[in-house]
């Protein structure tokens, strides 16, 4: 059999290893092994890649590899644990740059003839995405390591300017397709614009959101590799690249959910802050059980606030179970009992005792309120009046003056109830419209059971 065929089958093998490795990376118990498999796959692919026809000179390759390996290994070894995310950003940037260069290199075909339009198209994609990834990652690195201001940088007319950039890119791209020469002015335009767009895309995003950005750029670098693969007609690049591209998008999405944000919100929040400030009052934001899971999974301090609705739903047993699961997941869990929650004094105590919630986890209102800001997620289970901020703020409210559990001051609030109906005292509850409130509609027991099952899967 000829060597090309062997190389290609090796690619298949290494693609299998990548896939299997990625699968294992998704679970803590197997993650390290998964990384190993993936690395072995890479080794096989690299060796197979070296056998490709058309390679006439190994000197430069070896040079490049030695230099790259040295830098990569040193960086990986030296970096402090806290510096990992920055480093990943840098690595990602170099991956993007490599794709860009591969695409670029393709324009200088060995034969010297101009490449086909299709190839030119894929080359442009490789350059665009690779370039964006490169500069975007650099900016992300800068923001993370505080080398540049981590604040979201916005200026008037930014959207307009970005629109212009895109238009210009499109135009140059088309021109380059028509005459795919690396010496054409259009080529330089495409290159420059791509790099610029990467920068422009990341600067309006705040430093705290950088992990999401890096994850997204990671997905891009996969797509860039994929485009490069099309350009040079290499299927391992396509497979590995599209794997990374797709799984990167999913991962980005998961990360956004865990931050209780949408991707659009992350990418354009910078613009948003210029446009409309923070007052998005009056909007009810429902949340799905699945998204609730992502947020809870990432939370490290959770406080349940049960009310009459928990009793109606007879949800105490599942609530206890969710509490245990969260504790096992590393979160601190408490149950804040408001004195008038329920319909008789001690109603919540009766139910939680029945579910065998340890007395130590029950906290009184006066105890939880001073430290409510530390609570990542306050889960309001069928309570209403006892978490109604108008008792604190609105002197016209019939319940004005009653002390409440200030869940509105927690990082995120889940309110579990069946509808927007009011509670015992019939007063509307502004909590439901708060910026950091998510409504999980439905019977409390079902909702909690749903979240519990999400943890199982």
């Amino acid at each position: 059999m000829d060597i090309q065929l062997i190389a290609n089958f090796s690619y298949i093998l290494s693609a299998g290893l990548f896939i299997y490795g990625l699968k294992l990376l998704g679970s803590p118990a197997t993650a390290r092994r998964g990384n190993m498999f993936s690395a072995i796959g890479m080794l096989i692919a690299v060796v197979a890649g070296l056998t490709a026809t058309g390679i006439v000179d190994f000197k430069l390759i070896i040079l490049g590899m030695v230099v790259g390996a040295l830098i990569g290994a040193t960086a990986a070894r030296m970096v402090a644990m806290t510096g990992m995310p920055e480093l990943v950003a840098l690595f990602n940037g170099s991956g993007g740059a490599a794709s860009l260069l591969v695409g670029w290199g393709t324009l200088y075909s060995a034969s010297g003839e101009p490449v086909s339009t299709f190839t030119a198209f894929t080359v442009i994609l490789a350059i665009l995405i690779g370039g964006m990834t490169f500069t975007g990652s650099l900016v992300a690195y800068g923001k993370l390591s505080e080398k540049i201001s981590s604040a979201a940088l916005v200026f008037a007319g930014q959207r307009f300017f970005n629109g212009l950039l895109l238009l210009a890119l499109l135009a140059s791209g088309v021109m380059l397709c028509l005459d795919p020469s690396p010496n054409s002015i259009w080529f330089w335009a495409v290159l420059g614009l791509s790099l610029l767009i990467g920068i422009m895309a990341v600067i309006p995003i705040g430093g705290a959101d950088m992990p999401v950005v890096i994850s997204l750029l990671n997905s891009y670098s996969g797509i860039a590799a994929c485009a490069a693969g099309f350009a040079i007609n290499n299927n391992i690049l396509i497979v590995a690249g599209s794997l990374v591209g797709a799984s990167g998008i999913i991962l980005t999405n998961i990360m956004c959910k865990a931050m209780n944000r949408s991707l659009a919100n992350v990418l354009f929040s910078g613009f948003g802050s210029v446009k409309q400030g923070k007052a998005i009052e009056g909007e009810v934001k429902p949340i799905s059980v699945e998204d609730a899971y992502y947020i809870l999974e990432a939370a490290s301090n959770v406080c349940f606030v049960p009310g009459y609705g928990m009793a109606v739903a007879q949800a105490q047993h599942v609530v206890k179970e969710l509490g245990e699961i969260l504790q096992k997941n590393g979160a601190e869990v408490s149950y804040a009992i408001h004195p008038v929650a329920g319909r008789m004094p001690g109603h919540m105590n009766v139910l939680l005792a029945e579910a065998d919630v340890p007395y130590e986890q029950l906290v009184e209102m006066d105890e939880i309120n001073p430290r409510i800001e530390n609570v990542d997620v306050a889960i309001v289970i069928g309570a209403n009046d006892v978490v109604n901020p108008s008792a604190r703020e609105d002197s016209n409210s019939p319940i004005y003056g009653m002390p409440i559990i200030n869940v509105d001051q927690a990082q995120t609030v889940f309110v579990l109830k069946r509808s927007m109906a009011s509670g015992f005292s019939g007063v509307d509850n502004p909590l439901f419209f708060n910026e950091n409130t998510r409504m999980l509609f439905g019977d409390a027991k079902e909702s909690i059971s749903g979240v519990v099952s999400e943890f199982g899967s």
Partner: protein, 377 residues
């Protein structure tokens, strides 16, 4: 400002109006608290405990009564005691203003600002001062335990080598605060619990404690704006009796908590219902004091009718006097501190406030409470 707390004189009353803990908080807030010697002895608090909480101990009851700007107690005063009070003093206690006309008049005459603990509105905001709730809650618990102590069988189900003991059946009539706590307590002990109330909204609350609500169709039903039950028509009462007889005949324990605020309690369990109950059954009548829900119940006695015991304890919270005192005392403290202007050091007896409008009966020599005024006319 001086707060005076005289001892309770009722034989059955073991509770106290203020426990040392609340005394400490009040003195910290700037009050002088004088308590009668031996005040807390029946709830487990000694004079030393009070002294340690910065109260002054007084042995002269009359002087004490006369000295207080605010007088706090559990039970209503006698007419003589009213006349010993300082003029213009604030007097907080149970008062039964619907029935105690002469007492109320006497207080008005003496220019006492009389606050009736029964009349604290049942609103969410006022709940921390609501002694009816806090005491009814304990009463619910006590009733179950009284019944259980009397019963000749155990409550929970047990499958044992010596056969299966079936769970006892408990039937709670009237699921207000006390009824709900009775349900919860009986459930805890493993009984099968059923409950009935004329207010249909209560069904959900009963289910929320894991008990069964007995559905008896009485036609149109409603509740007053404060959430109290309205009186039933004679036909409705009859329907209710028929429906309940069935349940009662299968119950080991029946607990009745149906009270109509300010009026005699409805007669719910009649002689014929008692008769269908099996031997050894126990009935607890919470309303025994206001006429009794159960035919044949006698205040502070346990009557045996054909092997069925009817328990009629009038002062149920007193059975757990320590906690009952703690809660009552907290209610009083919350009431006083809510209206205490700590800067001006005055008690802000603002009759515009909906809580005070509800519970202040007499003030400045007149009856100021709208409900009582309406009643008199």
């Amino acid at each position: 400002m001086l707060i005076a707390v005289p001892s309770e004189t009722h034989a059955n009353e073991k509770r106290v109006a203020l426990i040392p803990d609340s005394v400490k908080k009040l003195t910290k807030a700037g009050f002088d608290v004088h308590v009668q010697s031996g005040l807390g002895i029946r709830s487990g608090f000694t004079d030393e405990d009070y002294t340690a909480a910065n109260a002054s101990i007084s042995t002269d009851r009359t002087a004490l009564l006369g000295s207080g700007d605010i007088v706090l107690r559990v039970q209503k005063p006698t007419i003589e005691e009213v006349n010993q009070l300082k003029k213009g003093a604030i007097h907080v206690s149970y008062l039964d203003p619907y029935n105690e006309n002469t007492l109320v008049d006497a207080m008005a005459e003496r220019q006492i600002s009389a606050i009736s603990m029964e009349m604290i509105p049942r609103t969410t905001r006022a709940q921390k001062m609501d002694a009816l709730s806090s005491q009814a809650n304990l009463a619910g618990y006590v009733m179950v335990l009284l019944a259980v102590a009397k019963l000749d069988r155990i409550l929970p189900m047990m499958m044992t080598p010596a056969g299966t003991l079936s769970p006892a059946r408990v039937f709670v009539i009237g699921a207000g605060v006390a009824g709900l706590q009775a349900i919860a307590t009986a459930k805890r002990l493993g009984a099968r619990v059923e409950a009935f109330d004329t207010r249909p909204v209560v069904a959900e609350q009963v289910h929320s404690l894991g008990a069964k609500f007995v559905d008896i169709d009485l036609g149109e039903m409603s509740q007053t704006k404060d959430g109290y039950a309205v009186e039933l028509t004679p036909e409705q009462l009859e329907l209710q009796r028929l429906g309940m007889k069935d349940v009662i005949s299968q119950s080991d324990i029946v607990i009745t908590t149906a009270q109509l605020f300010g009026r005699p309690a409805p007669r719910i369990v009649t002689k014929d219902m008692v008769d269908v109950m099996q031997r050894g059954g126990v009935i607890v009548d919470m309303a025994v004091d206001s006429g009794g829900n159960v035919e044949g119940s006698v205040v502070d006695q346990t009557v045996d009718i054909n092997g069925v015991s009817i328990i009629g304890v009038s002062n149920l919270p007193s059975e757990v006097s320590k906690h009952a005192s703690q809660m009552y005392s907290a209610n009083l403290f919350n009431l006083v501190s809510e209206f205490w202007d700590s800067k001006a050091k005055v008690f802000n007896l603002n009759l515009e406030d909906d809580i005070l409008a509800g519970c202040v009966i007499t003030h400045d020599g007149a009856i100021v409470n709208q409900t009582i005024k309406d009643l008199r006319n």
